[in-house]
């Protein structure tokens, strides 16, 4: 059965005329093989097919917009991604303009579909350009285009659709590693002076999870662990039960954050999601095992650096030492119930050495001073006598009460 281009175009026109948003969206997707193949087939059946004359039955601006869509599909099919990208941008801008002018958001899904396809094409285009030795800029370009789309979502009834675009941009910026550009996106979704009826719950559930995942990761970069915990916890709690892969991705960042806040996750949880690289950290912090900690950090160093959690995990060293010193103190309390709270630095030094951690007096003093300063140990140092005097009660406050900085 020969499939005619004209039929396809008429279907699109009907969807636009009758405002059938879902149908339109699925028709417009050229990354979906179906549409692309049909268009390619039509051209193979009739090599002299002229796109411009085929679309001429449509009223402007639709004739030009759909001509570009067809060209984009054709180019994609021939693996000319840069060319396909260019045509799709024109299509996108056309539909965006129409969306902006319509009172109802009926064609929002179509705009979303085109945005998503643009991003995919931009990635392929940059790959293609890179291999040719040309300048790769399509992903940056799609970033600019999507940023330019925000005004179209300005009205209250259209605003929920903004999060989809923001999340696409997060994906693009994280891929390009242009983290600074992410900051502006947060201002779009979480404005300082929010208008009535624009709170976070008005956005679609799935998009909220994605948003919180990315903003949680951004907060980790900033060492803002309280916010990171908020965002990533929200993402985890609202992530669909069956989306195991997404749950794991969230936990990959949430677990180090929880550890930094002194909240130790259940080992079962860690194992169930196959995040074994964190097991040793949980154990090390809980038991004060410094050797285990250093080994865990070193073994997976490159992996942690690549995923961006290394600097977060590195901070846990202080907590491990705090717990270790607490253990030493409790052993001392059994041996010398009257004077245990006056701990000689040499005692701590010897204990550390027996655990394979050699430090000199200055290093021990520095370590203890920092722990006292941060409130992890209640006490003070007597430099001349080289002792640390602990408070008789509550000398080691719970880790969860400490501020992470």
């Amino acid at each position: 059965m020969s499939w005619k281009l004209r039929d396809y175009l008429e279907q699109v026109r009907d969807a636009i005329e009758y405002k059938e948003g879902a149908t339109l969206a699925s028709l417009l997707s050229i990354t979906s093989a179906d549409n692309r193949q049909r268009i390619a087939q039509a051209f193979r059946a009739n090599p002299r097919l002229n796109v411009n004359s085929e679309v001429s039955f449509l009223a402007p601006p639709w004739n030009d917009i759909l001509a570009n869509l067809v060209k984009a599909a054709q180019a994609y099919d021939n693996n000319h991604f840069a060319e396909a990208y260019g045509c799709l941008v024109t299509t996108f801008l056309g539909f965006l303009h129409d969306f902006r002018n319509s009172e109802t958001p009926w064609n929002m899904r179509a705009v979303h579909m085109l945005s998503k396809d643009m991003k995919i094409l931009a990635e392929k285009a940059d790959q293609e350009l890179g291999l040719e030795g040309s300048e790769e800029g399509k992903q940056y370009d799609v970033g600019r285009r999507l940023n330019g789309a925000f005004p179209a979502f300005g009205s209250k009834v259209k605003r929920p659709g903004m999060l989809f675009i923001v999340n696409l941009l997060f994906r693009i910026y994280f891929r390009l590693n242009t983290i600074k550009l992410c900051r502006n996106l947060i201002n779009v979704i979480e404005p300082r002076a929010p208008a009535v009826g624009t709170d976070f719950s008005t956005f679609p559930a799935g998009e909220r999870v994605t948003y919180c995942f990315y903003t949680g990761r951004l907060a980790v970069f900033d060492d803002d662990f309280v916010r990171a915990n908020q965002q990533l916890s929200f993402a985890f709690e609202h992530c669909h039960r069956n989306h195991a892969r997404n749950q794991r991705r969230i936990l990959k960042y949430l677990i180090p954050v929880k550890l930094t806040l002194g909240s130790l996750p259940n080992l079962d949880l860690v194992r169930r999601h196959n995040l074994t690289e964190y097991e040793d950290f949980v154990v090390a912090v809980r038991t004060g095992n410094i050797q285990l900690f250093e080994r865990a950090l070193e073994t997976n160093e490159v992996r942690f650096l690549k995923s961006g959690v290394y600097l977060t995990l590195e901070r846990l060293r202080a907590y491990v030492y705090r717990t270790l010193i607490k253990r030493i103190a409790s052993i001392q309390a059994q041996r010398q119930p009257d004077t245990w709270h006056q701990m000689k630095l040499s005692l701590i030094r010897t204990a550390l050495k027996s655990l394979g951690d050699e430090m000199d007096d200055d290093e021990v003093e520095c370590l203890l001073a920092n722990l006292i300063y941060r409130g992890a140990i209640k006490g003070y140092l007597h430099h001349r006598n080289k002792i640390m005097v602990l408070g008789k009660t509550g000398a080691f406050p719970k880790l969860s009460t400490l501020s992470p900085s």
Binding site: N177, F221, D222, D223, L305, Y373
Partner: protein
């Protein structure tokens, strides 16, 4: 000047599109004549000290914002290499001028070199080498001239000699940004890897340790680490500087200064900028963690905060608002954890050169430090 194309780079690993310069002098002839006429010649460019006469051997193209240039005003890569050689020669022989004057001259002329490279879309090993040398220069001059700026400089020096640290840092950042772009491009397109990449990525990490506002900037370091390829991530320079960064962040002043003592000269040139904030935090920590009114011997302070050959520990303590006294043994000491006394960061951070850094200069000449191949 003939319109013939200048000699192309060999190796086939470059992406050279755009204009191809044809100027075979360090400074285009037209610019020489213009600047002679306007008496706009730097001291190094003057023939017999005359403000109105220069020569092809002395004049070096000045940076100009006007980017619309014709090929005869742009120097091709071999000329840029020769220009760089000549400029670095001024580090060895500054012709009686101060380092600050040399710096001001090189600061501008290096910008012009980078501009010529950009106009010619030149991304090649030669361009990488030029950027690396320029970066090293900005790094060492940041330290060597640290005493030329700040509150201790009373008299205002004449225009030519004024060293502006923030402008130096700005050019260093731009040079590194351009350099990193080239590392990425050359690796992606031709699989080219530079032995020196670790050295320079590490300098960037160190710069985040010594931010001007005294903060340690983790947000700037993590994204960088995420994009480095494993060979660079595991290079000794990156590993080392990451440890220094983490020490500064954790307030581990003892290890920080020990690492600094074991770093390279250029690394400590940058780390030196972080000394004030590490010391400040150390004093805050010790002030809070010590017994009330504890007298801490200055000798101990000097040792852990590595002040020897830089600043007297007593001066340091007074700078930070702490009081001095004598301890039980009659030794000079600083009083810690006194009621109502808080450690204050000095309003104007006074930078002094440090023997710790000076002692690390293995090779005596500054030029060797810039050109050194590790």
């Amino acid at each position: 000047m003939s319109l013939e194309r200048g000699p192309r780079e060999t190796g086939g690993k470059e992406v050279a599109r755009g204009l191809l310069g044809t100027c075979l002098d360090m400074c285009p002839e037209k610019e020489r004549r213009d600047r002679e006429r306007f008496k706009d010649l730097a001291v190094f460019e003057r023939v017999d000290g005359s403000r109105e006469r220069t020569s092809a051997d002395l004049a070096v193209k000045k940076f100009s914002r006007n980017a619309a240039e014709c090929p005869e005003d742009i120097r091709p890569v071999p000329v840029l290499l020769r220009t760089m050689e000549y400029l670095l020669g001024l580090l060895d022989d500054p012709r009686g001028q101060s380092l600050a004057t040399v710096h001001a001259f090189l600061w501008d002329r290096f910008r012009a070199i980078r501009q010529d490279l950009t106009l010619q879309h030149c991304v090649s090993p030669a361009a990488v080498r030029l950027h690396e040398q320029m970066a090293r220069f900005h790094i060492l001059s940041h330290y060597e001239l640290c005493e030329s700026s700040g509150p201790q400089v009373r008299a205002s020096p004449p225009e030519e000699e004024r060293f502006e640290p923030h402008m130096n840092l700005e050019q260093l950042s731009k040079t590194l940004a351009g350099l990193f772009q080239m590392y990425d491009d050359l690796h992606r397109k031709g699989g080219v890897e530079f032995r020196t990449e670790g050295e320079f990525r590490a300098y960037y990490i160190l710069m985040q340790t010594a931010k001007s506002d005294g903060r340690v900037d983790a947000a700037a370091v993590t994204p960088l680490l995420m994009r480095l390829r494993p060979a660079v991530l595991q290079s000794c320079e990156v590993c080392f500087t990451l440890r220094a960064f983490c020490c500064a962040r954790a307030g581990d002043y003892v290890r920080f200064f020990r690492l600094a003592a074991g770093a390279s000269y250029l690394q400590t040139c940058i780390l030196h900028g972080a000394f004030p904030q590490v010391r400040s935090r150390a004093l805050q920590v010790l002030n809070k963690a010590s017994m009330k009114g504890q007298a801490w011997p200055l000798a101990a302070l000097s040792s852990v905060l590595s002040t020897e050959g830089e600043v007297a520990p007593s001066v340091l303590c007074l700078d930070y608002g702490l009081r001095l006294a004598e301890d039980r043994q009659g030794q000079p000491a600083v009083l810690l954890n006194e009621p109502g006394v808080i450690v204050q960061r000095p309003v104007n951070t006074v930078h002094r050169k440090a023997r710790l850094v000076d002692g690390l200069r293995r090779l005596r000449s500054l030029r060797s430090e810039v050109e050194c191949n590790a």
